[in-house]
Symmetry: C2
Subunit: 336 residues, 2 copies
């Protein structure tokens, strides 16, 4: 597979699984100490596994869980953010300005700050109460695994997710599944890229626990790394505006989920198949997850979609556009 190292990927799996215990022990300690609510805060793509976790736990718990963009939270605050809050942040580099800042603000308020980042001795690590090593090179799926081992264990401890121990163990089988799924999807990624790389604009649709992936792939990959114009909209909201843009010349991508909101994806799918001409339907159900219970699939579906999009489709887009995924004209090039 192009732009992919099997060795590096398996290394990422090993490093991620090594951090499971640290993530779970942080949850255990916080549970013992007590806490009032949970803030999940980051910027851009780092918020994505948090968006999924927050959408998923709506069905499981009445624990107040807030997802906040770090810069907004830093300048505006939130009256629910107190010394009894647990604040989760994530930044691979550990130096993302807004994330480092919000961690510092929250630590100063007396919150427990749980940070997922590469180095303990980084600006983010130094602003944290709990450091969860996140040492993989590539793969948003590894961020999901770590966030789930922390957030869903907190729910388990409250009695909101009794199946957690089985889920947490089975999640260790996710990387080998995703490796196989990458290989299965790879020819389709090439087909899609070959057919769509010249599109000047794409509509991407998908909702609830899948929304983060739609949000990220459009903004952080297509816009930031390929300079392709996009619109992202949830499957429910698609019918309240964006649908009017659908015609035979407009590229539409639908990301389906496997949870309760799948019915809304199916509604969008019927519409797109009927009135669109250029469309791609991406369905995590097309891929087996060996060793993982059917009932956990919807929780892992965002990671399945992430691996086929952020890893495979992006690589094949780059091969066609010749626009280097690593090139930025503005981002982190200078102060703004």
């Amino acid at each position: 597979m192009i732009r992919f190292s099997r060795e590096e990927y398996l290394d990422g799996a090993r490093l991620t699984i090594e951090s499971r215990k640290t993530a779970e022990e942080a949850a255990d300690q916080i549970w013992r100490e007590g806490y009032d609510n949970l803030f999940l805060t980051a910027v851009g793509g780092s918020t994505v596994p948090m968006m999924a976790a927050a959408a998923i736990v709506k069905e499981m718990t009445d624990l107040p869980v807030f997802v906040e963009q770090a810069a907004e939270l830093a300048v505006r605050g939130n009256r629910n953010l107190t010394a009894k809050s647990v604040v989760v942040t994530l930044s691979k580099t550990g130096d993302t300005r807004e994330t480092v800042e919000i961690a510092g603000i929250c630590k100063g308020k007396g919150c427990r700050v749980v940070s997922f980042t590469r180095q303990e001795d980084s600006p983010l690590g130094r602003n944290s109460t709990f450091f969860i090593p996140m040492r993989h090179e590539n793969g948003v799926e590894y961020e999901y695994m770590l966030i789930y081992w922390f957030v869903l264990r907190l729910l388990y401890l409250r009695g909101d997710f009794p199946e957690y121990p089985r889920f947490a163990d089975q999640m260790e089988a996710l990387p080998e599944n995703l490796l196989r799924i990458k290989e299965e999807f790879d020819p389709r990624a090439e087909e899609i890229a070959a057919a769509y790389w010249k599109e000047p604009y794409m509509i991407w649709v998908g909702g609830n626990e899948m929304w983060g992936e739609v949000y990220m792939f459009t903004m952080c990959i297509l816009e930031e790394m390929q300079w392709i114009r996009t619109k992202a909209v949830t499957s429910g909201e698609f019918f309240h505006g964006t649908l009017e843009l659908v015609d035979e010349n407009t590229a539409v991508f639908l990301v389906k989920g496997e949870g309760a909101c799948r019915i809304l994806d199916e509604r969008a799918e019927r519409f797109i198949r009927k009135y669109g001409k250029k469309y791609v339907i991406l369905d995590p159900r097309d891929y087996d997850l060996v060793g993982i219970d059917q009932s956990f699939r919807w929780i892992l579906a965002p990671a399945v979609i992430s691996t086929i999009l952020v890893d495979r489709l992006a690589a094949h887009m780059e091969a066609h556009t010749n626009h280097d995924l690593d090139y930025r004209r503005y981002y982190r090039q200078f102060d703004y």
Copy 2:
């Protein structure tokens, strides 16, 4: 002013102010009865004043306030939604499918459902516990006024917004201010429309309490009513992807706010002015609000922007594009 009736607008103001007492009395009764949390739920443009209210109250209260897309909430649920929840819905026609459905589900659960709609004897009205008449013909600003008279009074009763009585009275002066602001903005609306109506794609930036307006104008006006492609992104998140699309050929609109997050709008503004060539900066601070305290301006800024965009700019766009704002090829044309 084109596509505008002064008489109808002033009529809308009178009808809206007539409903103030009903909205406030509903809040008073709910406060006396007690409640655990507040759900604000609708679809598309009807969610917009709710988005603003939810963003604003983050700074005022620790009352749990949830904004939910009605279709997602209906199929997925939320563990915080109980018989002790207050559920606010809004639909001018009173027959929006998803909104009628969620109101029915919530009423069935024993929640108090507070609906802002035209007719008590509508599908939405019949699924509600409290009916707040919303009888104006046009003007999202009137939806803001009604939502604020309910939600911010609830906060006042909790002791979270002691300035409410003064704010609520002063809000009655909003329509006359907005009428003047429409007239002031109208020549600029024509200038902007003349310069930008041919743009095939626009980036719109704005965040926190202004986000709903950016969301709505792009999706419900430009996409749905003008078939113009758009990207909407918050001022904070703009720097994590979309910024890379800015170049001399890309139209960028920035909607500034007057609250704590203005500093993030200003950061986006500096970037856009430096690296963009085609841009429009819309700032509610350019307009006086006579008879309204400075300290309330940020709460009303979304209504100011709404009146200049949804009313004035949309009308001038239509005049140039010759694309009838009332024409739809799909929406509500048939079942899907």
